[in-house]
Each structure stands twice: as C-alpha cells, then as structure tokens.
Amino acid sequence: MSKKILIVDDEPHIRMLLEQTLEDFEDKGVELIIAKDGKEALIAIKKEKPDLVYLDVMMPEVNGYNVCNIAKNTLLLKDTYIVLLTAKGQDFDKKKGLAVGADLYLTKPFDPDYIVEKTEEVLGIKL
C-alpha cells in the first residue's frame, strides 16, 4: 500500500509550499492529501489513515490541537506521525502539544530541507 501524507493548513500559500517541498515523494509513489481546515483534516484522517500529517495549529473552528487530539486519542491512530506547525513568535503551548500526543512541532517559516529529512525518516523512503 502506498504511503500517505496529509497537509493541513488554512493558508493556501503554506499548503503550496509544503506540497512543493514534498513533491519528490510523489514521484516515489507517496500520495499527498490536502486539507483546508480542521474538519476536512478529520475526514481525511478517518478515511485515509495517513502515515504522516503536517498540521497547522492556528485554524478557525477545529484547530490543530483538536485534530491531533482526536486522531491520537479518539481514533487511536498511534502510528500516524503528527507534526504540528506553528508560526514563529506565536504562542505555542509545548505542554499542550505533548498532551494531545503530537510527535513533533516545527515553527513557520519551516526549513524545507528539514521537512524533507523528517519525511524520509518517518516514511522510510530515501529520495
């Protein structure tokens, strides 16, 4: 079965940036799934059970913490690696991130090279 990455952000430019950063994985057969908000993210998570999620924290209505919490603690998707993305300087509650079960958190502007490295590691795919 092909590996799946879910990208969740309400800002279109961040979605595009992540998509382009990860497109080399598509060539290796990885499926990129895009969600524009928390609700879409939850639907995609339930249906697709992605291996890796890049998840924005600050989103209207269902935010990143909620999505992460539901994925990890309600849907019990322990094998889904969740990366929380937060803007630099934005108040990020590390404790809260840990409490909802996030595996990693990164600040935006993110380092594209690091995202590629981390993705290689999590998916076990070398570019």
Binding site: M16, L17, Q20, E26, P109, D111, P112, Y114
Partner: protein, 431 residues
Amino acid sequence: MEFNLKRLIRKKQVLDIIDDITASIETAILIKNVAGEVLVGKEEEVDGEKFWITVNDKVVGWVVGEKKAETLANILTYMANAEYEKRILINETLDKYREITLLYNVSEKITSCLDRKKASKLAINEATRLINATNAQVSVINKESKKLEKIAEFYEEQVESNQQISSKEIVNQVMNKGIGQIVNDIEGSKSSLICAPLKIKDKTIGIIKLENSKQISYSAEDLKLLNAISTQAAVAIENANLYESLREAFFETVQALVETVEKKDSYTAGHARRVAIYSTAIGEELGLSKAELAKIKLAALLHDIGKIGIQDDILLKKGKLTNDEYEVIKKHPVLGAEILDNMTQFRDIIPYVRSHHERYDGRGYPDGMDKENIPLVSRILSVADSFDAMTSNRPYRPTMNREYAFSELRKNSSTQFDPVVVEAFLKRIKI
C-alpha cells in the same frame, strides 16, 4: 528550472479537465512528455497530428490526435505556464525559508556566546560551511594598539605572500568604508577574496575575511550571507567585550574592597590574597567544581571585609584585648555579611563570610553552628585564615614557624577545625 509535465497531469483537477475536454471533442487523444512517456491515453489506439505543449516557448510534451485535439494542447499550454510561474514563486519563497532558518540558527549559536574567540570561531565555521573558502579569518581592532588583531582563523591552504599584501589593502578599505567587498581577481595571483566589516551601529570594530586559493567567483549573494553572519558576530564580540569589562570592573571592586581593609591594618597586608590561595588549594584537593572554587576565592578575598566597621583603637590595639573589646572584634563576620548584602554578585558568598569563625565543635561565633551545619567553604576559610594568621606578623605576637602552625592545625583538628579540611590542607601544602 525544468518543467515536469508529468507532475501537472498527475493532479486530479487537471485529469478531470482533460477528461471533460476529450469527452466534448469526441475523439481519442494521447498525451506524451518530451521523454516520450505516455501520460494519458493508449498509444495503440491513437494516431494523428502532434500538437505541442510549451512552457516559455520550450516544448515540454504534446497531445496526439485529430485536429480537434489542438484545443486541449492550447489549454494545457496555458495551465502549464501558469503552473510554471507559480512554481518559480514557490521555489523563491522556499529559498527564503531556507535562508531565514539558516540565519536564525547562526544567530542563535553565535549570539549566545560570551567568549569572543569562540564567537569568532563559530562565525568562521558557519561562513565556511556556506561559502566556499580555503581560508578565513576574523580580526578585531585592539583597543590599546588600535591595530587589527587576528582572533580566529581557519585555513586549508596558506595564501601566497604577494596575495597577503593586496588582501591587506582590501581589508583596509573595508575597515575605512565599512562596506563589504568581493575581489575575484586578486592582482598577481589566481585567488578570490570576500570580506565583510564587523559593525556595531556605525562603527567598524573589525572584519571577517574569506579567501579561496583558486579563482572562484564570489557572488553578491555570498557577500549578503557573509554580511548577515558578520552582523551577528559583531554583536557577539561586542557583548563579549562588555561582559569582560563588567567582569574586570567587578574584580576591581573586589580588589578595592580588600585593599580598604588591608590599608586600615598594615599587619594584614596580603592576608586576603594568601587566604584565597590556601582556600582554593584546599577546594581543589577536595575535588570541588570550578564554579565553587571561584566562590571560594571570592569569599576568601572578602572574608574580613567586616573589619572596616570595627573601630581602629580596638582593631589595631597592640597587646591583649579586654573581654569587651574582644566582643567588638567578634562582630566582624556579621558586619561583613551586611556589607556584602549590598551587591547582588556577593549574595552567594554571604553565608561563607558570616560563618568563617565558626568552630567544628560548635563553640565558635556568631551562630555557634557545628560540624556539617557550617558551610564547607567556611570550614575551609577557617583553616586557611588561621594558618595565615599564625604564619604572618601580628601586633599581638611574634610570627610562628610553619611547622609549629601545622602542628597547631593538627592539634585542633576535630575541635576548632574540620578534620577532613585540615587533612586536605596538610596534604596539599606540605608536599
């Protein structure tokens, strides 16, 4: 940037549009990329003309089919060009993201450093990691000599001497103008140089210089990067300088305080310094950490500071003190603690100074503490202080010899002194 048609056509929305169009033109089509790979359709089912899909007038693939298929090729060309422009913008943004991350990491490393040599070394490491160089150097103006002084360097290959002369001129220009320079054709040699000023506000305090023994072309981008690193390095070096002068000011203050006490009582000249030497020796013998040894030294230098508050006729009295007079003398550890309470940097050592006249058996002053209730540093000070008092000149008695002082320490071990401390002292001093 190469345009990859496969990536565009892989997108679900694009595939849907292609399906809609082929359905409406009612003809089979084939889409191939420049490599000849079939992206849509079946080669054996379609034959016809080739309609190019172009990006910036460069063919990236084609649609094969009847004349009607040209519409699809036109639409795909339009979509491909829009996608191409979007990708350029995204790539530029991603490059900016990389740059921001890099500068953030560099500045975090460099500016947290309070040692100018280390900060300079870090700046060189980061610069040479990002910019191709065979040697690098950070030099800073020496405040006294007013000349540039090398504080960190790196080299794979030594530069030739004639090159050093011309590189000197460039460095001087950078210093004078405060603007970075690139020289890709150093006269008489085949090497390149890039140099940026270390600036604090409008003042140039030094330079960072990178050279390559081969002639490579340093770019404006390289200089921009080096400028960013040099800005961080300059701040770090300035911080380190300020920190250093603060430290100096602190030790000068301590020295002034020590001398104030010693000027009052000429017999005690050098006493604090000697107690500091003995105490730190004991501390080392007991395996204490560097930070603890620094505290011991400070406490030793200032242990008698309270004597400033003792009236001269008692402090300097020759001959035996009356009981009342002795009670006044006994106030000096508490007075010392009170004086030190005025400076934050002294807070840690206040208990040590206060308790340096406590005795191991609990019969000392001011609090009558005993054994391990007395801070270790105070127990150390007590031995060092007594030894120096016995072996130096005092108004009320002649100097004793060292052997006698040693035997006194031994005799009073476990009563006046902590036996472990006495043991450590004897072991260290007698050898």
